[in-house]
């Protein structure tokens, strides 16, 4: 199944122009509009223009990493349009003025007590810290917003070229609300997310749900083809699809091409020892976790991951978990090489690591360095760690501690033990 899914993705990318043209043609035939955004700035401008022309005051949004990626909410607010996140997790972090920490469970870092406090502040009344109760409150609050909103903004998990269908997968049902109740629907989607046919789509629906949450199928899969059709009681009068480039297209011929097959299921986050230690926020960009490093490099350039490229133990758990078999560790190694080749890291760091390589490969030098280091480190060791280094070396310790050279190195102890055993 995984090989089949990956093969479909690769085959689609090989003829991406053809499939996208079919998608665009079909959506336009159905009365929808397609827009093209080279970068976040253009994407924001397109969506804001649509909202302004529709005289929109409130926008309801279902969970979408793409609109997170382009910082859409701030842009809408600047235009006096209130964006409301309707995925429960996203709603919580919007109230907290934070960013998602996980692709699938964005508020996984909040306790129910913290959520209750946020709701109390918003509703100005006491709220019980019970998930069932909190969910009920969110239902009532957000139901009003769904019914009032002028415009619905979504991402898209897939788009089917043959039929002009945009596909949204949710468990809560907010994707259905957002695409049915407001009078305008805008979907923002990375250009790589197109799949050729309904037959292909069925393969992906099953593996997406299984990898993301372990379900056989997510609760709601919504297939949307353009605006409300004649005879339909409800549905938007306008439908827009925004196709987003932002560095994706350049990777069709680039080293990160494999990452274009990513379904955003989050499986690689859940198994990553680094992600589990540091959490999603520590990555500092829209997409966290191992795949997030690659996506950040794709969207914002290699420069932006000069440190993140090393936030992996290369254990390979991500590649094992990936439902489309993306070789994440291989690309991370290539990224590290590029960071080095292009001399992106500061010269002090590069020289230090060159020296370190010399020392580590020469036992005599290594033993000498250990002895010298033990003396030199003395003024800087506090509570068993080097918390601050002087001069230009201080950059290294600004955000991390350095373990000191041990009082007796392993080699010294080993020699002593052998002496004793004799």
């Amino acid at each position: 199944m995984r090989d089949r899914a990956r093969a479909i993705k690769e085959a689609t990318l090989q003829r991406l122009d053809h499939h996208l043209e079919r998608l665009v043609g079909n959506i336009e035939r159905l009365g929808g509009h397609v827009h093209y955004a080279a970068n976040s700035e253009e994407a924001r401008r397109i969506v804001v223009d649509i909202a302004r022309r529709a005289d929109a005051r409130m926008a309801v949004k279902s969970k979408s990493m793409a609109t997170e990626e382009i910082d859409l909410n701030e842009a809408l607010e600047r235009e006096g349009i209130t964006p409301v996140e309707t995925d429960l997790g996203e709603y919580i972090i919007q109230l907290a003025h934070e960013r998602p920490s996980h692709i699938i469970a964005p508020a996984i870092h909040k306790t129910k007590g913290q959520v209750a406090e946020l709701f109390e502040r918003e509703l100005k009344r006491p709220v019980e810290a019970d998930p069932e109760e909190l969910t009920k409150i969110a239902r009532a609050e957000l139901r009003q917003k769904f019914l009032q909103a002028d415009i619905g903004i979504t991402g898209a998990n897939f788009a089917v070229a043959e039929t002009g269908t945009v596909v949204l997968v949710t468990n809560e049902g907010n994707g259905r609300m957002v695409t049915s109740l407001p009078r305008v629907h805008v979907a923002v989607m990375g250009a790589e997310k197109v799949v050729p046919s309904m037959t292909d789509l069925m393969v992906f629906l099953a593996i997406l749900a299984k990898s993301a949450t372990g379900q056989k199928l997510s609760v709601y899969t919504t297939l949307v083809r353009g605006p409300r059709r004649a005879g339909e009681l409800e549905g938007p009068e306008e439908f827009h699809l925004v196709l987003l480039d932002s560095g994706r297209i350049a990777q069709l011929g680039g080293p990160l091409r494999e990452a274009l097959s990513c379904l955003r299921c989050g499986a690689c986050l859940n198994v990553c020892p680094v992600y589990r230690q540091i959490g999603g926020h520590a990555y500092g960009h829209t997409y966290p976790g191992p795949i997030g490093i690659l996506l950040t490099a794709m969207l914002e350039g290699t420069q932006s991951v000069k440190e993140l490229a090393h936030a992996s133990s290369l254990c390979g758990a991500c590649a094992d978990a990936c439902p489309v078999r993306i070789d994440i560790p291989k690309m991370l190694i290539e990224l590290r090489r590029e960071v080095d080749d292009r001399k992106i890291a500061p010269w002090v760091e590069r020289v230090t690591f060159k020296l370190l390589a010399r020392v580590l490969t020469r036992p005599v030098l290594y033993r000498l360095a250990a002895r010298v280091g033990r003396v030199l480190q003395r003024p800087f060791v506090r509570d068993g760690a080097i918390g601050r280094l002087p001069l230009f070396l201080g950059d290294w310790t600004r955000t991390r501690d350095l373990p000191p050279v041990a009082a007796r190195t392993f080699q010294e102890r080993w020699a002593a033990e052998r002496e004793r055993a004799r």
Binding site: L20, P196, M202, L217, G231, L233, F239
Partner: protein, 248 residues
């Protein structure tokens, strides 16, 4: 702003740089989806009991409530008992022609339920549309038909269209779906065949813009990974299987 021509020129330029990572093909689509869909229906006419049983197991696994009644006459009492247990009074439904005809509405009204059937087509004006939306948002129960019931996953597939509003299965806290063996399919692959057929030369059950796959009640685990139901969509989903068929 980027134009369509610029966008596609860039894609073609990049594709020339690296034509392929490995030899790959997309999924093999059914050659004659309409004929194949007919074949699936014909074959299931023989072995539907096993498929129904599999559907029941999967549907219950995703917290759906399964009911089975002998004939159309038994549907109203079944709905009455669901309503009774929940103190529900108001029911909104697809237009009768999209479910099982007029008889059911009359039987439900006779049993004391407030029945609000949606119109066969568009609302006359914006005010009427707003009124129907308010009725749906207030209703306790939403009654719909089912276009495909998928045994592999316990999924109900509903096609929107005239007389089949999207919100009937979405806004009320309890969704009740009626189906018979004509809707049963075994797998997601078979759903794909039907979708290919409907989008090709076949006749889709509805002519609306949306197809919804519904697999159990609305759920979330966004607060401390605790599973809770009914966050936006219905808290309960009931599927009533009618042995004698919905068309009498």
């Amino acid at each position: 702003m980027t134009t369509r021509a610029e966008f596609f020129a860039k894609i073609r330029g990049e594709l020339q740089k690296k034509p392929a990572l490995f030899v790959a093909s997309t999924a093999a689509r059914p050659e004659h989806p309409v004929a194949q869909a007919d074949t699936i229906r014909r074959e299931l006419a023989e072995r539907w009991p096993a498929t129904l049983e599999k559907f029941r197991v999967e549907f219950e696994r995703v917290a759906g409530v399964f009911h089975r009644v002998a004939s159309l006459d038994d549907v109203a009492p079944a709905i009455e008992s669901i309503a009774g247990e929940r103190g529900a009074r108001e029911l909104v439904s697809w237009h009768a022609a999209s479910i099982a005809g007029d008889g059911l509405s009359r039987a439900l009204t006779a049993r004391g339920l407030g029945v609000h059937a949606m119109p066969a087509g568009e609302a006359a004006d914006a005010a009427e549309r707003a009124r129907l939306r308010a009725v749906t948002a207030r209703a306790d129960l939403g009654l719909t038909g089912v276009d495909l019931a998928v045994a592999e996953t316990g999924t109900l597939v509903l096609v929107s269209g005239a007389g089949r509003p999207r919100s009937t299965s979405l806004l009320p806290p309890c969704h009740i779906a009626l189906f018979d063996r004509a809707a049963l399919v075994e797998s997601l692959y078979q759903v794909g065949v039907f979708l290919e057929a409907w989008h090709g030369d076949g006749t889709p059950p509805g002519t609306g813009a949306v197809v919804n796959f519904i697999t159990g009640p609305s759920r979330t685990a966004d607060i401390e990974l605790t599973l809770t139901r009914g966050v936006h969509g219905p808290k309960e989903v009931h599927a009533i299987f009618v042995d004698g068929g919905l068309r009498g």
